[in-house]
């Protein structure tokens, strides 16, 4: 593991640790209002380390809660996109022919739809602020690229002799997919999924920023940034705190994904 990857892991573990331990680290609940400290700036001696927003809510508590929401959504949505993407891509790539063409044209069509439309349509179908709607919206976009990547890998694998050897051994198509194709693409999939998580977190933040995502009293990094942006002239920390957290989180995930990818490539040589 390279030094960069190790730092990324350390940062992610620290952030996740803080996010999980937050309820015990601060006396403030994320939605508790502190009338004595409205919009107070951050400071070590202050009652609120990272300051408060204009309703007097503790930004550390809210930020950590937002990270829990963001990571959970990102990881879960990445997992869903892995499951759908691998199944879809491996099947299309292995069976090939008309099935492949049909399945991949479907992917192309969904790709071509502006995803904000999908989200708005879903938002009208579900109650406002529903996490399920958000989850489906993110999942619907996330698996497309994964399916394409897995299909490409599968097409290359299908040409390999060990697949012919498996066919000659009498293995069923399902067995070949499950025991030969999937284990051989899983390395790429994990590396790519790690790179997908920050994309999905960013996507969720973007939707929340637009007001289509996580709703009050819950916070996500996107909704915090949205709120902070409205006050950025008078109280810049309200924007800077969630924006910094988001940036650190995304950089750490990207470094980890990049590290996994290059580790895989060097091992192959």
């Amino acid at each position: 593991m390279s030094a960069r990857t190790r730092i990324a892991v350390a940062v992610l573990v620290t952030i996740a640790g803080f996010a999980l331990a937050a309820p015990w680290l601060t006396p403030w609940a994320p939605d508790a209002l502190d009338w004595q400290h409205l919009a107070s700036p951050p400071g070590f001696d202050a009652a609120h380390w990272l300051g408060t927003d204009r309703l007097g809510r503790d930004l550390f508590a809210r930020g950590m809660q937002a990270i829990r929401v963001s990571i959970a959504l990102g990881v879960l949505a990445a997992l869903v996109s892995v499951i759908i993407g691998v199944a879809w891509g491996a099947t299309a790539g292995y069976i090939g022919g008309r099935v492949d063409a049909l399945m991949m044209r479907f992917v192309d069509i969904v790709y071509a739809l502006p995803y904000v439309f999908i989200v708005i349509i879903l938002a009208t179908l579900f109650p406002r602020g529903s996490l399920a709607a958000l989850f489906i919206a993110i999942g619907a976009v996330g698996w497309l690229t994964m399916a394409r990547i897995v299909r490409g890998q599968t097409l290359a694998l299908r040409q390999r002799e060990f697949i012919d050897a498996a066919i000659a051994s009498g293995a069923r198509t399902s067995t070949i997919l499950w025991r030969h194709i999937v284990p051989n693409v899983i390395g790429v999939v994990i590396a790519y999924a790690t790179l997908t998580i920050p994309q999905l977190i960013l996507f969720e933040s973007f939707l929340s920023f637009l007001g289509l995502g996580v709703q009050e009293p819950f916070a996500s990094l996107g909704s915090l940034i949205n709120e902070g942006a409205q006050e950025m002239e008078s109280s810049p920390w309200m924007l800077l705190v969630p924006a910094t957290l988001l940036t650190v989180l995304l950089v750490a995930f990207n470094l980890l994904g990049e590290g996994l990818r290059s580790a895989r490539e060097t091992r192959r040589e």
């Binding site: 002799e161 012919d164 050897a165 000659a168 009498g170 284990p183």
Partner: protein, 551 residues
């Protein structure tokens, strides 16, 4: 021709990567106008030795000892301009695969001319004329026309000649050829060997790196036998080939299949199947060749109405060069490709029209071993999982314990003990991997085993062991074998009957001993004449005759 100071002098040279020695204290001298043959199996360090001499190893390689080309020291001194002076100008190297040595988008003539412009300050017009002369020198007919062609328009043998012309363009004192004929068909190999020998006769100093004793017999004046980095034997070609002193050299020589060795008649197998394991009638394989988006694809006939049958306990050899359709035929016979027509039966049951589950259930009748054992074993699976796969698929009644027992038994039968069960293919050598592949094919006791170039990627000593293993399955279980190979000497060792393929057709068929003794078809005769002999004098005469023919 040769004065007595060696052109290339190497004194106790070693190459190490992170303390592991790949070349260990090698010393030799190569006189002008002679050919040194360096022979060894994979991992012997023979290529490393010469890459180190040319300063082509990565910087982490630790090269020690002394080496001189003329008066120039080659070790530690080859950087920048000095390195370019030696590489290409004073010493040139040709590699195994001529396609990788040629730039795909440049015309052959320009590629040969380029070093003349770059190093010798010639104008392009002069250089192009010189390139045509050089292409003629390597015995390419219509050199002027060829100079305007691109690499992909040339055959493998023509490409290798073109790379030799490129190497000659710098008028090097020393030519190094690394497995120059390994990627080529035998009939083409003769031409390249004859050309290289002719260059030596004309005064060139040549070092040839090879794993093939036949190449040594025809080309080399002196021989250096390498094993795990060390020189185990050095001497003149006659001394090394006729009176080898070292045990390893002797083992190498006796493992090399040769056309003049006696073949004992195959013993009759103990058990025999009742019906014919494989019969095929009028099998053809057609591939569409795309010709761009607006034209209809052309149809390429890879296998043209081949009929064959394999008797119980018989080994049938299918011989042919690349492009003869033998691999397409084996894939069709095993129902692995969808582009085949004709009738195929396994143990009397017709399978050509079957698909899906019915076909799958019959696959325990015919199994296959492929050429490249690394490619044909799933890299993520353990040896135990790989060998168990056919049992899992075709013997569902077997429980895990019974399956494990069968797997262990089979691996033991191919000479791999229980410590190999948990390993993966990348931890095994090529020969061990090929045994695993054979164990997988044999674990469900098929009546027919198809081997597609199954020993071609293996070192000769391992090759001999694998051949013996196949023969033992035939002897003890009466397994019928279809043995596809381009190597006639190997086929001669194993097979009872032989079938010669040329451009998708069977041109000759018959009892192996008869076909090898008295070939009827001219192509069979050409193939047989192309197999290098291990007798230096005879081989030298054969190459000289070939050179005289093509001059």
């Amino acid at each position: 021709m040769s004065d007595m100071t060696p052109l290339l002098r190497v004194e106790s040279m070693s190459v190490a990567f992170a303390q592991r020695k790949t070349v260990d204290a090698i010393s030799f001298g190569l006189l002008r106008g002679r050919c040194l043959g360096v022979i060894g199996e994979s991992g012997a360090g023979k290529t490393q030795l010469f890459l180190a001499l040319l300063g082509l190893l990565p910087p982490q390689a630790d090269v020690t000892g002394r080496a001189f080309l003329g008066n120039t020291s080659l070790i530690g001194a080859l950087v920048g301009a000095g390195a370019r002076e030696v590489r290409g100008r004073r010493a040139a190297m040709i590699f195994q695969d001529p396609m990788t040595a040629l730039t795909p988008h440049l015309r052959i003539g320009d590629q040969v001319a380029e070093p003349l412009v770059a190093h010798h300050g010639k104008s392009w017009t002069e250089a192009r004329a010189e390139a045509v002369r050089l292409l003629g020198r390597v015995r390419l007919t219509d050199a002027a026309g060829l100079a305007r062609r691109y690499p992909h328009e040339l055959s493998g043998g023509m490409r290798q000649r073109a790379t030799i012309a490129m190497a000659l363009a710098g008028t090097p004192e020393l030519l190094i050829a690394d497995e120059p004929t390994t990627a080529l068909d035998v009939s083409v190999q003769t031409g390249i060997l004859a050309l290289l020998r002719e260059l030596v006769t004309d005064g060139m100093t040549l070092a040839v790196i090879t794993h093939d004793m036949g190449v040594i017999a025809g080309l080399a004046d002196d021989v250096l036998v390498m094993r795990s980095g060390k020189a185990v034997e050095q001497g003149t070609v006659d001394a090394v080939l006729k009176t080898p002193r070292d045990g390893y050299t002797r083992a190498l020589l006796s493992a090399t299949p040769r056309m003049d060795e006696p073949v004992e008649p195959a013993p009759v197998p103990a058990v025999l199947a009742e019906s014919v394991p494989l019969s095929a009638r009028h099998v053809s394989v057609r591939y569409p060749v795309p010709r761009g988006p607006f034209r209809r694809a052309q149809v390429f006939l890879a296998v043209d109405a081949v009929s064959l049958s394999v008797a119980p306990g018989e080994a049938l050899g299918i011989v042919g060069e690349s492009g003869s359709g033998k691999s397409s035929l084996t894939r069709a016979l095993l129902r692995l490709s969808a582009d085949a027509s004709g009738q195929i039966a396994w143990l009397g049951r017709e399978v050509h029209a079957l698909r899906g589950e019915t076909l799958r259930a019959l696959r325990d009748r015919a199994q296959i071993v492929f050429q490249d054992p690394f490619a044909s074993l799933d890299p993520v699976m353990t040896v135990a999982e790989i060998v168990a796969e056919p049992l899992r698929a075709l013997r569902p009644a077997l429980d895990a314990a019974a399956r494990a027992e069968r797997v262990a038994q089979l691996l033991d039968g191919v000479g791999l003990d229980a410590t190999y069960l948990g390993r993966r293919s990348r931890e095994l050598s090529g020969g061990q991997n090929q045994r695993v592949a054979i164990a997988r094919a044999m674990v469900i006791e098929p009546q027919l085993l198809v081997c597609d170039e199954a020993v071609s990627a293996l070192d000769v000593s391992v090759q001999a062991q694998v051949l013996e293993l196949l023969a033992s399955f035939k002897r003890t279980r009466g397994t019928s074998i279809v043995f596809v190979s381009h190597n006639l000497a190997v086929v001669r060792r194993l097979c009872d009957r032989v079938l010669v393929m040329y451009q998708g057709k069977v041109v000759e068929e018959g009892d192996a001993a008869e076909v090898f003794a008295a070939p009827r078809h001219p192509y069979t005769r050409l193939l047989l004449e192309s197999v290098p002999r291990l007798d230096p004098a005879a081989e030298r005469a054969r190459l000289a005759a070939h050179a005289a023919d093509s001059a």
